[in-house]
Structures are given as C-alpha cells and as structure tokens.
C-alpha cells in the first residue's frame, strides 16, 4: 500500500492575520486534507481558515545558497530608518 500524498497545512488563526505553516499530514485528496487538518491542527480554536498544498508543489531555496541569497542585504544599513540622523526637534518621523 502506497502512502497517501503529503500535504503542507497553513492556518489563519484569526481574520486579519496571515496563513501560517503549522505542519503536514497525509490525505488522499484536498478535501480530506482539509478535514484532517481541521482535526489535527484546530482542535482548540487555532484557526478560522485552512490552506492545504501538496508538499511536492513547494519549491524551497537551498540552504547552501544562503550566502549568495541573503548576504547582499547585510551591508545595506541605509535601508533602515535608524540609519538617518535627524535633529531631536523632529519628534516623530
């Protein structure tokens, strides 16, 4: 017997917030994936909306590429507001 496909589960915990990855589970199809996600991941009012995505459809970045991907942002402090000096008289900006 082959495994049912694996699904990644995303839950919106309340209106106004993003769906957030909470884990994965096996299910035969998308409908069952949603039902199982409800039972496995929202037994205590953790969600108001569920997304399910087949794990095989997710493309992830390679951890070995971390340097070329994220290194360039590190020396760009001028992208942050605190980089700019303002006189104290300017209270909020």
């Amino acid at each position: 017997m082959k495994n049912w496909p694996l699904w990644e589960i995303f839950i919106r915990s309340k209106a106004g917030l993003n769906h957030k990855h909470v884990g994965s589970l096996h299910a035969a199809d998308e409908e069952m994936a949603i039902q199982n996600a409800r039972d496995v991941y929202t037994r205590r009012n953790e969600g108001v909306s569920i997304w399910v995505v087949k794990s095989e459809h997710i493309t992830a970045s390679d951890p070995d590429d971390s340097d070329p991907l994220y290194e360039p942002a590190k020396d760009k402090v001028y992208r942050h507001p605190t980089f700019y000096d303002l006189p104290d008289e300017v209270k909020h900006m």
Binding site: G23, A28, D29, M32, R43, P63
Partner: protein, 313 residues
C-alpha cells in the same frame, strides 16, 4: 564542500543553539538518532491511546467521558505531529508503521501495563502524563526544528491531560473508603513504571551523552527522574495517598527526595516484549492497520478517479 567542513559547520550551529532544519546538512548518525527517537515518541502516543480507550465507554459521568475522548484524540494528534516531523528526515510513514508492527521500533514501556480500574485513568493522567511533560518540556528546545516545533504543540495540549488525571485522583481520594483504596491501588501499580519512563540510569544509558552533545536531549534521564519525584511527592501528600517506596524521604543536604532502587530487570523485560500487554497492544495496532486497508485503498482510488475526471473536464 567536504565532509569535514560540513561537520564543522553543523557543530558550530549546535554550539550556537541554531536550529537544524530538514534541508540542512546533518551527520548520518544525527539523522538516525532523530528518526529512532521521534518515531519511538510517535508510536508511544499512538499506542498510548489503547489503555485509555478501554475506559471511554466506562467513564463514570458524561463530563469524564468527554474529557477522556478529548485526551485520547489529542494523543492521536500528537502521534501525527511527530510522524510528520519524523518524515522530514526522509523516512516514509508506512515504513515507520511497519517497524512498529514488526517490533523493530519501540514505544514507551509504560503502555504495556493494563488499566484495571477507573482510578487508573486518574493515575495515568497524573503520573504518566506528568512524567511525559517532564520529558517533553526540554524537547521544545531540541536542536532539530520540526521536532522542537511539534513538541511545543504537544506540551501546550498536554497540561490538560495531567490536570484531568489529578482531578480524577482527587475526587476518588475525597470519596468513600473504597474509592480512596482504588486511588491508592492505582498509585501502587503505576508509580514504579512511571519512574521507568525516564529510561535507564545515566550510567547505563547508551544514547544520552551523544544526544546531549547534539542538543537533542537537554537533561539526563536521572535528572528528569529526580525532578519528577520532587514534584510528585507533595502532590501525593495532598491527595493523602502513599507512594509505594519505603526509601522515599527528603534529603536536606541534596535538597531532593531520595528514592528506592528501580527494578531494572522488569524494565528491560517489558522492553523486550514480555510485559503484561505487549502482545495485545501490537496486535491491536496491526489489526487497526489491516482492517483499515480497504478504507485507505478506497480513498486513494476515489481521489484518482476524481482527478482524472477533473483533467478530462
């Protein structure tokens, strides 16, 4: 990158308490240790449903029944979180189940003891879940990300289990003489197996040192066992029942309770498969798996038919 520098980078991350994630490089033995520990943990949750399931239909009130159902359902959920975490290490769910059924994979030996009376539901919640929480709280900081995240969810849900168990004990202890006797009898039978849940002594434990180095374990078996005894003794006093250990006494100098020698022969014997319920538990799992095969196949066939129809439309 060569193995040596990959290993150095991995050890650096462990030293800096940076979590290891599924796609990161990790030593083969780290992966194997995690698969063994996480699957064993998952199996324990699933097999752990069996001794309690026995009492769902026999719970004394609707309130108790609803709580028992919710607890057993939580355990199914915990098993699923953990199986999923384990699968991120590149092992298939079906393989994990085969290993449980064949006896290759272990589960916590505590679930090989029978649940003879309703008081056992109280003792299990109070002691077994209590011991599990002691074990699991530090695992929320385990070095492997998916395991740690699963444990955070488990721990959040687990504390109701212990409280409902203690409440059952408290109700019995405040009840008739006969009910109090039942509570004492359950404590007598579950105390020592609960202490065994923390595993062999540090001296005898084969995995502890490496697992501590890798940040999979944060405390040794003996440290956790001591914490459990220290926390539980005052609770037994509050219930007014006696822990079945004549050597149990406060040691002022150590600031801990001293306690008697554990029967390790019994522990290893139960692990080897000779406990009172080993066969019954594994048979129950196998029959659930075998008798559920047609459901899994039918659902897969239905899903395939539906997706073909959608493709044609």
């Amino acid at each position: 990158m060569d193995i040596k520098s990959l290993e150095d980078r991995f050890n650096e991350k462990i030293d800096e308490d940076v979590r290891i994630e599924p796609k990161d490089w990790m030593p083969d033995n780290y992966r194997k240790t995690l698969i063994r520990q996480i699957s064993q943990h998952a199996h324990s949750e699933i097999v752990g449903m069996l001794p309690e399931a026995n009492w769902i239909s026999r719970a004394p009130t609707l309130r108790r029944k609803a709580a028992a159902l919710a607890k057993v359902q939580d355990e199914a959920g915990h098993g699923l979180y953990l199986y999923s975490a384990c699968e991120t290490l590149g092992v298939e769910r079906d393989q994990l189940l085969q290993d449980l059924h064949s006896g290759k994979a272990k589960y916590s030996s505590i679930f090989n003891y029978p649940t003879l009376t309703w008081a056992d539901m109280g003792a299990i919640g109070w002691l077994v879940d209590g011991a599990a929480i002691m074990n699991q709280v530090p695992l929320c900081r385990a070095s492997y990300g998916p395991y740690a995240r699963a444990m955070v969810r488990v721990c959040k849900e687990e504390s109701f289990h212990q409280r409902q168990g203690f409440e059952i004990m408290l109700t019995l202890c405040k009840g008739s003489e006969e009910q109090k006797k039942m509570a004492q009898d359950a404590l007598n039978r579950w105390w020592w197996p609960s202490l065994m849940m923390f595993g062999p002594t540090d001296e005898a434990s084969t995995h502890t040192e490496q697992s501590m180095r890798w940040g999979i374990k944060r405390f040794t078996n003996d440290e956790l066992r001591q914490k459990f005894v220290d926390a539980t003794k005052p609770q037994a006093d509050l219930l007014g029942i006696t822990i079945p250990d004549k050597d149990l006494k406060w040691n002022e100098e150590r600031g801990h309770y001293d306690f008697g020698e554990i029967n390790w022969e019994e522990f290893f014997n139960v692990i080897k498969g000779n406990g009172p319920c080993n066969k019954q538990r594994v048979d129950a799992r196998k029959s659930a798996y075998d008798n559920g095969a047609w459901v899994r196949e039918a659902a897969a066939a239905h899903a395939e038919k539906k997706s073909k129809k959608q493709a044609a439309a």
